[in-house]
Symmetry: C2
């Protein structure tokens, strides 16, 4: 939702079809096989709803399944990792970059691999933070326990003196007010949603024919595989307005 909101804001002229797999979320602790199978189903759902460009707006799905999806489907596929890495590599003076994410994202090693491709001398320090997404989903973004857990997770990265920290999970921007003071104000904290929206704008500007062919009329629609009060209030908080979440069965 944080990515959808950023894309909507950056590119209001295009029609957005959102799908959130809330019934089967969270993905962060599942196996690569299961994450890949779900990512395929989600992609096919969006294509069947007329999507002509896909954004994988989840770092876990992107880290495990993006290459497979790009190989299997004919439409342009964007994801949250590549533009975030570009931003981080541009921002780091020392080349010491920290990455935090779910267990599946960190285990995939995608961030380390892609950062080293772009910045050969980089030293990447990764830390899985599996409890942060559940804490955000509970709305515990200002609780003392959350602050302590953030501190516990970030401590090893602090010791490594990273100067740039990538928020490798779309939940973490909602904890930025706890993360930034923990790592210190000199550390650049990079989040994905603005980076992917900027990359997308650039792509559409440089592909005017493709951009022209995209649908511009009609309302944005927000599909989910489950509707709960928590999801509705999360949507309200992120988008700043009431969102009509439409339940579909996959």
């Amino acid at each position: 939702m944080t990515v959808a909101q950023a894309v909507e804001e950056a590119l209001p002229e295009y029609r957005l079809v959102y799908f959130g797999d809330l019934a089967r979320a969270p993905y962060g602790s599942k196996s690569p096989e299961t994450i890949t199978a779900y990512a395929r189903e989600n992609t096919e759902f969006l294509l069947a709803r007329g999507a002509r460009l896909i954004i994988i707006a989840c770092n876990t799905a992107a880290s495990v399944a993006a290459d497979l999806l790009k190989a299997d489907y004919d439409v342009p596929i964007f994801e949250v990792i590549t533009p975030t890495i570009q931003k981080a590599c541009g921002a780091t003076p020392s080349g010491r970059i920290g990455v935090i994410g779910t267990r599946a994202t960190i285990r995939s090693g995608v961030y380390e691999e892609k950062i080293r491709q772009l910045l050969s001398g980089a030293r990447v320090h990764s830390q899985a933070c599996p409890l942060l997404a559940p804490l955000v989903e509970e709305g515990w973004v200002n609780k003392r326990e959350t602050k302590m857990i953030v501190r516990r997770y970030l401590h090893p990265l602090k010791l490594k003196q990273v100067d740039t920290l990538v928020l490798g999970c779309t939940h973490y921007p909602l904890l930025k007010h706890l993360i930034q003071p923990q790592v210190g104000k000199r550390v650049k904290v990079i989040d994905s949603s603005a980076a992917v929206a900027a990359e997308l704008r650039l792509f559409l500007e440089s592909s005017p024919e493709f951009a022209q062919s995209l649908e511009r009329d009609g309302e944005n629609v927000y599909y989910v595989s489950d509707v709960t009060d928590a999801a509705l209030s999360m949507a309200q908080r992120i988008f700043g307005r009431r969102i009509d979440l439409r339940k579909v069965a996959l």
Copy 2:
């Protein structure tokens, strides 16, 4: 798994077919519709594997879907809630009973309703503890933050001076060492797994013909919808031996 282990221990002569829906877990924050749909699929999977008696070994699924499953399927269906309530009602001197569980379990109101049916003067105080299952799944059963979160959740029940506390989620027995000191040693902490195993033994003893007709040969089998290292080590910890988790797609 805590229930399967207790049933296996209490009734070693019968053949157990376990299914854990790890790919779509946790259920605790999903809507009743989604939980019911998944519970049906899980039941049909077990029936197709030859199960002739079903145990719903998850309080969330039991609280939302047990009545529907009992109406729809012909086999005996047991669940973790009824025997736990019987035990709690037998244990409480004052009738002040606390219940902790997932958001979906507590919202269903099943515990309050069934406890009042059995013990009309009972006062039931319920508390959703949505972060405890993720903390257990992370293995954070001895962390300071977990202790603080347990204290935060249990504080309202302590104020109500409950004398009996029902662990209304199959994850919570793994936190009993934090829960018991928090509520005080005089409070009886009741967990489901032993209660359901005892109820099952009683049923089979009183239905000898049905019991005789059940399969006794063959190994116990453990199916899951996803296999991860975390699941394997959780199984090892709960069963006290290596468990061969077989992955199936639902």
